[in-house]
Subunit: 106 residues, 2 copies
DNA sequence: ACATTAATTGGCAATTTCGCCAAATAACAA
DNA sequence: TTGTTATTTGGCGAAATTGCCAATTAATGT
């Protein structure tokens, strides 16, 4: 039996949230510990409004949490398994290169 | 040290490939075993050309392999860990619902 | 109250993705 | 060769995503 359309869309929303270079970089950074928006902005280099929008998208997907302390907002990763997630992505990449551009084959 | 821009783009390419309802559904189907394009077309219901394009995108990302036998092309999942990958996505969703719409809280 | 710093939101143009149709290609049978 | 079935490719309009600027909101200090 197929998964409900709605459920699939929720899943896709989570995956989409990770499917952007800046957001992926921020998620990896957050895996090491919480950060304020300003730190993430320095890391990414885009306009702060752009970074903020990326972050709210991540939050909306359920990937991060926020904690406002004073003027700053601290973001933290909600689900640690995202790291394993990336492990799988790396595996796809290594197997891909292994086959398509095998350095041992001439 | 941050991951190279190029590497990050490769990763994103893989994640993006999974970030679509039809493609995600097909990947899950393929996790059970290989399928021809026609079977996947029936599963998804979109025009066959649309399905074919989704599949070539998956292939380009390194997620699936193809095997042409006669007139048909059989697709198969290249990396089994994609299943675990989805496990993490599910975890994100369950924790999300747990907090935002906690049934125990009034 | 006023200024300052941190972050979010609205709006918009540029780019990318999506899905259909029509046409092309490939394998095989008659 | 001709026809048939399976799949891919080209092209195009529609929809979604992206990133900047400007304006707004929020917390704090003077």
């Amino acid at each position: 039996m197929a998964i409900s359309e709605k459920r699939q869309l929720e899943r896709v929303k989570v995956i989409k949230a990770l499917a952007h270079p800046s957001r992926l970089t921020m998620v990896e950074k957050l895996a090491e510990g919480e950060c304020c928006v300003c730190d993430l902005q320095k890391l990414i280099g885009d306009d702060i409004s752009t970074v903020s929008k990326h972050l709210s998208l991540l939050k909306n997907a359920g990937l991060v949490d926020t904690d406002k302390r004073g003027v700053q907002v601290f973001y933290s990763l909600r689900v640690p398994c995202v790291t394993d997630f990336l492990g799988c992505v790396e595996k796809v990449l290594s197997e891909k290169n292994e086959k398509s551009s095998c350095s041992k084959c001439k």
